[in-house]
């Protein structure tokens, strides 16, 4: 970070003195800055630590912010030093020495930036791998899955087993609904999760592209029609969390938000049983649970057929419709 060449009017001794003090100041300020960012700012960075994926993201933000701190301090320090001490003197019209062709500077610059970028690439890959995708949608065939979990049953679930809890997230203009296949397949507008239990979100859409963003839970997965997008997390603290749509999906996109709740395991089980009973009549008329739903294949009743209504939307979603993409 030291000055490589004497500014106009400076001596060789002056350059070395500037370089020494710049280095000393940079190291001192960087140590202080890194400690402040890592220990004071870090625990308050979003999205918090309500789940394994949120905590992982918060750690990543803290690490990246800490790494960036010496760089930012170095740039600002050098900038301020130049403004304060290397200003052009009256009558001095000489240029500073050119640095083009300086192999030492070129090699140092390429090596340093290359090392930083490659190190961050390795770190980023590990941070996707270890926390099972870090809460991001991994597509229909996820690469990274939570350790020790299986999908041994889609029709039942018990806490503390390897069988992971399945929650289907269904986007539609303009609301989210949630389906719990392991509890009879009921569908509700409430998202409840048990604390300390790994969860597999299966995210899809019934119309346009939405994006399920459980912000403070650290989960974000696009909801595409006809596609299942899988994301994982493990809630670690009880309490509510924010849910938003993060893909512009129509006029009420901005209103497509809400809250979910992380409950104790016993409270979650009670809620599932109560809701299952409350919604029993509705569950009977829902389509069989599937990872995606095709509105063009909805079975129309005899009255619908008589009216010429062949699918959801009264035929408006016909694949042959020239207005369809």
């Amino acid at each position: 970070m030291a000055a490589e060449f004497p500014a106009a009017g400076q001596t060789e001794t002056g350059r070395r003195r500037d370089g020494f003090w710049l280095l000393v100041l940079w190291i001192a300020l960087s140590v202080i800055g890194c400690l402040l960012v890592a220990l004071v700012l870090g625990p308050h960075l979003p999205p918090g630590d309500q789940s394994s994926s949120a905590a992982s993201q918060q750690t990543d933000f803290t690490v990246l912010s800490t790494i960036a701190t010496p760089v930012v301090i170095g740039v600002l320090l050098y900038f301020g030093w130049a403004l304060a001490f290397w200003r052009q003197r009256p009558g001095d019209e000489t240029d500073a020495a050119p640095i083009h062709g300086n192999t030492k500077i070129s090699v140092t610059w390429v090596a340093a930036t290359g090392a930083i970028v490659l190190a961050l690439a390795v770190y980023g890959t590990i941070e996707l791998w270890v926390p099972a995708g870090a809460g991001a949608g991994e597509g229909p065939q996820p690469i990274w899955k939570p350790a020790g979990t299986t999908t041994s049953s889609l029709t039942s679930w018990a806490p503390g087993t390897s069988n992971i809890l399945q929650v289907q997230v269904i986007g539609q203009q303009w609301a989210w609904t949630y389906r719990y296949p392991q509890f009879g397949g009921f569908e509700t507008t409430q998202l409840m999760l048990p604390v300390g239990q790994p969860v597999q979100f299966n995210v899809t859409s019934l119309d346009v592209i939405h994006s399920f963003w459980a912000y403070t839970l650290g989960v974000k997965a696009d909801a595409n029609p006809g596609l299942n997008n899988v994301a994982y997390t493990t809630p670690e603290h009880t309490g509510d969390f924010q849910i938003r749509c993060s893909e512009l999906c129509g006029i009420w996109h901005g209103s497509m938000y809400g809250t979910g709740d992380v409950l104790s395991v016993s409270a979650f089980l009670t809620w599932t049983q109560t809701t299952k009973v409350q919604l029993a009549a509705l569950t009977k008329i829902l389509p069989p649970y599937a990872l995606t739903y095709d509105p063009t294949t909805i079975p129309a009743g005899k009255i619908n057929t008589a009216l010429g209504l062949t699918s959801a939307g009264g035929g408006y979603y016909n694949p042959a419709d020239p207005e369809q993409p």
Binding site: T189, I285, P295, N304, G314
Partner: protein
């Protein structure tokens, strides 16, 4: 061209562009439907709100769009708007006159009544001659029975009410063809329709809540969710809760 002239031209052109952008923005933002204010008509902690669905909107330049209308509490006529205001912490008794025909829900989950007092809606049907007896219903199977024409949903309050549709093919083929559907003509008076009533309580604090239909009833538009589904004043609106 001299420098002052070039600068003046540039400034004028810039101001013209800014004015154009502001005009378009304010024209769109300002062109919201009128608000039917029911607050002055609340009495004894209750207020009665009446809405109507129509298969066509012949009073606008989009005559083939389905739409909601709201009864003007002062004049008693039905106005083409979907914005209304009600007082806070008040029981709202809603009547929806459903003059449209059935359309299957894309997601049957919206076929269940939610958020109303008692968790039900009361429905009677007019077949063109007589009214049926009133039924209290909670769940509609719009796929099997073609029982729903639209929904009235306020997601922010957890309210969802399927608007029942006329029950037979004959009734669905004899729908009101002029909006609003109670203007007094003989044809309109005979149009089959449903009468849906339900109640809910407004929040204790003021606020604005959007409401919408969850039936993809924008015929001819992508996914059925364009046109009237994406335009304030047709199948969506706002409920303003006033202090």
């Amino acid at each position: 061209m001299s420098l002052p002239a070039r600068v003046a031209t540039l400034v004028v052109a810039f101001l013209a562009v800014v004015a154009g952008v502001m005009f378009v923005a304010f024209e769109f933002i300002g062109a919201q439907p009128a608000v039917e204010n029911y607050t002055p008509y609340a009495s004894g902690g209750q207020v009665n709100v009446t809405l109507m669905t129509t298969p066509e909107t012949t009073v606008t330049n989009k005559p083939d769009w389905v739409s909601y209308f709201i009864k003007n509490p002062s004049t008693g006529s039905f106005d083409h708007t979907t914005y209304f205001a009600v007082p806070a912490n008040t029981k709202v008794n809603v009547t929806i006159l459903g003059y449209d025909g059935c359309t299957p829900l894309r997601n049957p989950v919206w076929g269940r009544v939610a958020g109303t007092i008692g968790g039900i809606e009361n429905v009677s049907y007019f077949n063109g001659k007589t009214f049926s007896s009133t039924q209290s219903l909670q769940t509609f199977d719009s796929w099997a029975n073609c029982a729903v024409q639209h929904t009235f949903a306020i997601p922010g309050l957890g309210i969802n009410v399927p608007v029942a549709s006329p029950t037979t093919v004959a009734e669905n083929n004899a729908l009101c063809g002029t909006a609003p559907c109670v203007a007094g003509t003989a044809d309109q008076a005979k149009a089959p329709h449903s009468v849906v009533t339900f109640s809910f309580t407004t929040p204790k604090t003021p606020g604005t809540y959007r409401w919408q239909c969850f039936v993809p009833c924008g015929g001819g538009y992508l996914d059925g969710n364009g046109g009237p589904m994406g335009t304030p004043g047709y199948m969506m609106g706002q409920m303003e809760v006033q202090a």
